[in-house]
């Protein structure tokens, strides 16, 4: 088991390197850099001025070199101006060139500086990830159990009235995009159009003080969309298991229907949906963009939109690093969990 995890972590790091390099390469294409120079400096810069600006920032080095610097495996670029002042990525305001470290990249914990938020990328990501993490936690807490219950109830008697009605519910929710259900919820539960006004239509206040009133609608919107999908997967897996011969064995052993479902079918039926559930984590991380924007909840997805929209290269890179890591870690968990659910796959 230990060797297996080590091996997987190794592969994971390699994948992370490849993926971040792709993002790094794309964001560091010359047009992007030119735009960066102009937004940071002056929109009416001449081409020469742009080149000088980029040269001073070390942007004109080769991509692999820049990538290594960003990772923190190569000493970062320093520019010596004509007057002898030394500037560079690692030299923070108030530091002299001698004090500043030679290496400053992801490995050293320096994620760069966001041009939009005028703050360190590390700080921004930590706060925003925390906010989205909190949202995600509640979504998962509600979505996974309800989806599994829905799926199992529908799948245990294929074709029954219960199956038909629950399947209809699942298909409807998963077929309704978040921007439709979110808008509907706001209209029904928080606007004066219907007049229920049970919840707040904005989750801005939830960033400091989440409570039932301001947090329900965003959670519900995401839950409904994701639930239908997992429920369908669970149902499909459950109906298949219920026709298996060992279920007949259990039935003819005199096991009650209740126990057939709980003790014999459930574990086997959860094997397939488990991977899907783990895939929901990365989806939630970036897929919450719509809901976060709709409810004005400034989380990770919102940050991503801001970074992309404003050509904030360092922030964009930071966001992608986190996304890649989340995908890889959840997949690792999914593989390990799979081994535990399915005894036929044993690592030894």
């Amino acid at each position: 088991m230990g060797v297996f995890i080590l091996r997987r972590v190794g592969v994971m790091l390699l994948t992370a390197l490849c993926l971040t390099f792709v993002v790094f390469f794309m964001t560091n294409l010359y047009p992007n850099l030119e735009k960066l120079a102009k937004t940071q400096g002056n929109f009416r810069m001449s081409d020469e001025a742009v080149a000088t600006w980029l040269e001073r920032g070390g942007y004109l080095q080769s991509t692999p070199k820049k990538y290594l610097e960003w990772i923190g495996l190569a000493p970062s670029y320093r520019h010596v101006a004509e007057d002898g002042t030394v500037t560079g990525r690692c030299i923070q305001p108030g530091m002299t060139a001698e004090e500043a470290p030679r290496y400053c990249g992801i490995l050293q914990g320096y994620w760069g500086y966001s041009t939009v938020f005028r703050d360190e990328v590390g700080n921004i990501i930590a706060t925003r990830l925390g906010l989205t993490g909190y949202l995600m936690f509640w979504v998962m807490l509600i979505m996974v159990p309800s989806a599994l219950i829905l799926g199992v109830l529908a799948g245990m008697r294929e074709g029954s009235a219960m199956d038909r009605s629950l399947s209809t519910v699942a298909i409807t929710t998963t077929a309704t995009p978040e921007y439709v259900s979110g808008v509907l919820f706001i209209a029904i539960f928080s606007s004066s159009a219907v007049g229920l006004k049970w919840f707040k239509g904005t989750a801005t206040s939830a960033m400091e003080n989440p409570n039932f009133e301001n947090f329900t609608l965003p959670v519900l919107t995401i839950v409904l969309y994701g639930m239908g999908y997992i429920a369908r997967m669970t149902r499909a897996s459950m109906t298949e298991v219920m026709t298996a011969q060992y279920i007949r064995t259990a039935r003819l052993k005199g096991v009650s229907f209740h126990n057939i479902v709980l003790k014999h079918a459930l574990r086997n039926a959860l094997i397939a949906p488990f991977t899907v559930i783990m895939l929901q984590f990365p989806w939630l991380l970036n897929g919450v963009v719509i809901v976060e924007t709709l409810f004005n909840y400034k989380g990770f997805g919102w940050t991503l939109v801001q970074a992309a929209g404003n050509n904030d290269i360092e922030l964009l890179l930071g966001v992608s690093v986190v996304s890649v890591l989340v995908v890889l870690i959840t997949q690792l968990i999914s593989d390990i969990g799979y081994v535990y659910l399915n005894p036929r796959i044993r690592i030894s």
Binding site: R248, T249, R251, K253, G254
Partner: protein, 696 residues
């Protein structure tokens, strides 16, 4: 919860039971007017071909017919109580407690995600409300009873960690957990190897005696039923056609179907040239296409128009003079049952010609990573074939016999070119082909060496017509210059395998199993194959069809002078059709010789056990009872010395632990009979025949 009160009468009475399945299109009667009685302690066999409704009867007894199935009329009484009138609650009490079932595929009937112990303990915990501890003790006891080694480890394993034979023993243990009064066995050994089957059958018989359990034994294998049952019920197309004690039915059969069935299975006296099998003509009728009157009428030798095909229900009538022997035949009094079999034309035995295929010291080793899924670990070598040497001549049938894992399929793959040999030679007409994979072989070689596969259901492309598939083979073998020419050749091939030419336009799904296998044979012979490897070509087919397909193969062989390599585990059929036999065990050829030599002493100890394990459907045959202990060792981890030493009953006869130390040499016993054994000549000479036919 306790058992039903003691009851004196029969354990199970099925009376005029009819079961139908309802589809959107129509009602499909699966079982009609079926009656059987099981007395306490009695074992009743239910015999018939697939689709005759025998499993439906079993599920009917369990009251588990699914959504579409329903008992239309008649009753099933268990200990005097009508099962149909029971509530779901009462039925649950009876299932697993009073009536237990053993299934065909042990792997599929055990929960893969639940430990064996838990699955066993569940039974007494549900039915008797005992605690964990007692249930565990009971499970341990029963697992010991079914003779599994290391019971505690067994209880702590998952099903996939056990071998097929062990799994089946667990299923049996599960059925016996609550000491039921009725045990239903639905083809319990079909998925197992012969020697394992023999051990399981032995076990079931012993346990039945020990616990006094009545049994309903469902099987298509008449020999097996003879060995296990007291009474027998033969089913055909949803009806019981004959019912009686084993001896009455086997020796004084009173229904044409029973007779035809016996004539189509290879008994020790049968011979492909002198006394060929008689196949039952025609096909098994589909449930919604049954003929009027007698269901067997259209295939019956004694059919009388105007009498047997009148649309009426033919009743079961008792045979006078016998105990509870009944038959569903209108003419049974008129038929002379002792009339000798009118022999089909006797065929000339064709003499084997020149050597076409020669194997010399062929070896095939596989390297397997110890940990297949996650790679790494040290490599293990699986010795799938160990020094195979033999010759096969023109128009000769060489049978390769052995149980699963003995390397017979690997050998076929190497010969076909799907794998290349590790060492040694395969000479086809003097040319080496062992290192040429199929992609690199020329068309001639490919069309010369062809294969007939075990499962005709999976080897035909479901979306291509039969004719198209054969023509495709012709194209590949570069037979014929034009489409029209190939079409003509295809039609001739259909004639060769005795299929109507109209079948060319049919899709595989419209064909029965036997017909599909004929298409498979036609395809193999499309390029004028000279060597045909038939890998268990009839084992997936019904008994009555087997004979026809076997005969077809023999006939084509006689006509085309083909060399047939017949891979099988069924010694009866091997004895019937092969000229020479090669017995394999764990990659080694343990015995090789003429059919006569192999089937009579001196035997290799494994051949001896194999012969004893094969059930023979003849009451006059006496067999020596040899049960092999344990399972076939894994080819990954073969025992040291002789591969068979772990299960050999003659091992003690060899002095000095020689069997455990050295692989025995190949010994010649004269006239091409060779054997791989350490036993000395004196001991070999002491061996007595396993199968003895009692004097008539």
């Amino acid at each position: 919860m306790s058992k039903l009160a003691d009851y004196d009468g029969p354990i199970l009475e099925i009376d005029k039971l009819s079961i139908s399945f309802f589809t959107r299109l129509r009602e499909i009667p699966a079982v009609m007017d079926f009656s059987v009685t099981v007395q306490p302690g009695e074992a009743v066999g239910l015999v018939g071909e697939s689709g005759c409704g025998k499993s439906t009867v079993a599920l009917g007894v369990m009251q588990d017919l699914g959504k579409n199935g329903r008992v239309v009329s008649g009753s099933i009484r268990f200990k005097g109580r009508d099962l149909a009138e029971m509530t779901a609650e009462e039925l649950r009490d009876i299932r697993g407690n009073e009536i237990a079932m053993i299934y065909q595929e042990p792997m599929a009937s055990l929960n893969p995600a639940m430990k064996i112990g838990k699955q066993l303990m569940e039974v007494p915990m549900i039915h008797e409300g005992v605690g964990q501890k007692e249930a565990y003790a009971r499970a341990l006891e029963v697992v010991t009873d079914v003779r599994l080694p290391d019971p505690e480890r067994m209880l702590n394993s998952y099903p996939h960690q056990l071998s097929g034979g062990q799994q089946q023993r667990i299923v049996i243990a599960m059925a016996l957990m609550s000491k039921p009064s009725l045990l239903i066995l639905d083809e319990p050994t079909t998925a197992l190897d012969v020697t394992v089957e023999a051990a399981v059958v032995d076990l079931v018989k012993d346990l039945g005696k020990k616990y006094g359990t009545s049994m309903l034994f469902i099987s298509h294998n008449l020999g097996l039923v003879l060995e296990t049952c007291d009474r027998l019920c033969v089913m055909y197309s949803g009806e019981a056609v004959e019912r009686g004690s084993i001896h009455d039915v086997f020796d004084e059969m009173q229904h044409p179907y029973t007779q035809a069935l016996f004539r189509s299975i290879p008994l020790p006296g049968a011979d492909k040239n002198a006394r060929p099998l008689v196949a039952i003509p025609g096909n098994f009728p589909l449930p919604h296409e049954r003929p009027p009157g007698c269901n067997f009428g259209p295939r019956c030798d004694y059919f009388e128009a105007g009498r047997c095909d009148v649309d009426q229900v033919i009743p079961m009538r008792p045979v006078p003079g016998n105990d509870r022997h009944e038959t569903r035949c209108l003419r049974f009094e008129e038929i002379d049952w002792n009339a000798p079999l009118t022999l089909a034309e006797q065929k000339e035995k064709s003499a084997p010609g020149k050597v076409v295929l020669k194997m010399d010291n062929l070896k095939k080793y596989y390297e397997v990573a110890a940990n297949a899924l996650f790679g790494g670990g040290e490599k293990k070598v699986v010795k799938a074939n160990e020094t195979l040497s033999f010759e096969a001549r023109e128009s000769e049938t060489l049978a390769i016999v052995g149980e699963s894992g003995c390397g017979k399929s690997t050998f076929a793959k190497v010969l076909m070119g799907l794998e290349t040999a590790t060492e040694g030679e395969i000479l086809l007409d003097g040319r080496n082909i062992e290192q040429t994979p199929i992609e690199a072989r020329d068309t001639r070689t490919i069309s010369d060496v062809q294969m007939v596969f075990q499962n005709p259901f999976d080897t035909l492309n479901p979306s291509m017509t039969v004719g198209r598939q054969i023509m495709r083979a012709l194209e590949i073998f570069q037979v014929g210059n034009s489409e029209a020419e190939r079409r003509q050749k295809m039609l001739e091939l259909l004639d060769l395998v005795k299929l109507p030419r109209a079948f060319a336009n049919r899709m595989p799904r419209q064909l029965s199993g036997g017909q599909k296998q004929r298409v498979g044979i036609a395809r193999a012979f499309a390029g004028g194959a000279r060597i045909v490897v038939a890998d268990e070509p009839v084992s997936a087919l019904d008994v009555s069809v087997q004979a026809a397909v076997t005969d077809l193969l023999m006939e084509i062989q006689r006509k085309e002078k083909t060399t047939l390599l017949f891979i099988s585990h069924d010694l009866s059929i091997v004895r019937y059709l092969s000229d020479r036999v090669m017995v394999m065990y764990l990659g080694h050829v343990v015995e090789l010789g003429d059919t006569e030599q192999v089937f009579s002493p001196p035997y290799h100890p494994y051949t001896e056990a194999l012969l004893s394990a094969v059930p023979i459907a003849d009451t006059s045959v006496e067999k020596e009872h040899i049960v092999l202990e344990g399972d076939i060792p894994s080819a990954m981890d073969p025992p040291p010395g002789c591969p068979f030493q772990t299960r050999c009953r003659w091992k003690s006869e060899v002095p000095g632990n020689l069997c455990e130390r050295e692989v025995p040499p190949q010994r010649q016993l004269g006239k091409g009979h060779q054997i791989k054994c350490h036993l000395d000549d004196a001991t070999l000479a002491r061996m007595t025949p396993v199968i003895k036919t009692a004097a008539e």
